[in-house]
Amino acid sequence: MSKALQEPATPHRWPRPTEGTWTQHYPELGTSMMSFEDSVSPEFFELEREAIFKRAWLNVGRVEQVPKTGSYFTKELDVARTSLIVVRDHDGTVKAFHNVCRHRGNKLVWNEFPREETSGTCRQFTCKYHGWRYGLDGSLGFVQQEGEFFDLDKAALGLRPVHCDVWAGFIFVNLDATPRQTLREFLGPMITDLDGYPFDKMTEWYEFKADNQSNWKLFADAFQEYYHVPGLHSQQVPSAVRTPGKGFECAHFQVDGPHRMVSTGGARRWTMPAEFMYPIERATRSGLVGPWESPELGELPKGLNPGRIEPWGIDNFQIFPNIEILIYHGWYLLYRYWPTSHNTHRFEGMLCFQPARTVRERVEHEVASVVFKEFALQDAGMLTGTQTALESAYRTAGMTHFPVNDQEILVRHFHKAVADWVDVYRHDLSGVVAR
């Protein structure tokens, strides 16, 4: 244990595990310096495609996107080199198919451009190329000039299904031929204890997309530790009340399988003296952490605030591999990180509120959405620097290992979870029995 951890310069505000640190509470994580080669290596990225994105359950949307029979959307999964159709079938279930016509392999559903995602409602899917039609259940229903074919087995030529399941309204797919776990087994108790959280009430969405010049894990790293906040986001409070050198201490960390969570605690922003807020926050009663008051939600699930932090601020759940749910008072944020190469990814962000009932409530949501973007842009702005410098460190500067502190335990855990999944894949490939 380092001296700094034994004798903190300032007393810890929040209690820590009996081991003394969050990291040592999970001894399998170790405390040594870490390699971030997994974020700069094209070869490792190719392994991630197979080991993680073609084996893990991936969240591709919410049930609200397919509200009725025939509602569908497409999802481009570059990382798995595939496109999916997600659709609500006649029986009410949500199904997923590879977005490929069984006749000569054209992309089946697209609108203006084949590479762009689309959505809508239909009674069947019709291929633009030769007019083959498929039902909402994927069955092949119509073949143009069927008699011209040779022994055509229509029953065997339905859309190729993808495993699809729903948890708490989040639609997950699994590209594995035989998923190793059910969705609930995969999510595990830390996540499924959020069962009953009223995600379904928060249907007013502000959606964002960005193409970032960084490995997908580096952006996730930026959002799973708050150690960077005083440095990068010094403007989070007005300059008059900034405390130079002041750090940030999280209230609770927890890991479960490949998944992670962190809670923040402390005085709610608006209960502090007025000078801690910007004028626009006071005028709109909303800001950095969202509206000051949100409609009541009733009893909340046991999985929320698992550290029983009081006063509680935010729960930030990171579901392996690429989804993050940040639960605030009465609303939530959803992030997804979709790799497009070893050093680029597509970011999706969504602020989800209970629908505004008045103009003032709508304005509160707008403020939260605008403030979110300002600070997310600072995080994103760092990434090009991190990516290029890391690549340089590995290729030319001889720097391969970097220290990671106790407030960054989730960064350490995330990269270890990725490495573990890749290791299992390698063992499976080599014929050795997986752990």
């Binding site: 502000y206 960005a210 010049q213 707008e366 959405s369 842009l377 994103a380």
Partner: protein
């Protein structure tokens, strides 16, 4: 002849309406980045003192039944929120240290 966009009670803000009554966040953000800081400050100094009146005016109507001039006023207030980030927080149009990062809002509620 110019068209009046705002309710009569907000005639003092009409001079900003044609530039800043913008329907989407993307338009408002682009306008902010393209505006000299002094213009942002002038807009902020004129609009911020009226935000309470503006919200009270719009709040007289159901959210889904706002008259057109009230929608314009609401969009002007959205622009004020957008501009406040530059004036109150960053003292420049672009967020400090955001480098070349972009983040596009691709869907939002109406109005």
């Amino acid at each position: 002849m110019t068209t009046t966009l705002l309710p009569p009670a907000f005639a003092d803000l009409e001079r900003f309406a044609h530039d800043w009554c913008l329907k989407t966040e993307s338009e408002r953000y682009a306008r902010r980045l393209a505006s000299p800081m002094q213009e942002l400050i002038d807009f902020y100094d004129a609009c911020f003192p009226r935000i309470e009146d503006a919200l009270a005016y719009c709040d007289k109507f159901p959210l889904e039944e706002l008259p057109e001039d009230a929608i314009h006023l609401l969009h002007l207030m959205y622009s004020l929120i957008m501009v406040a980030m530059a004036v109150e927080i960053f003292q420049q149009p672009k967020p400090v240290d955001s480098a070349d990062a972009e983040l596009a809002r691709v869907s939002e509620p109406w109005p």
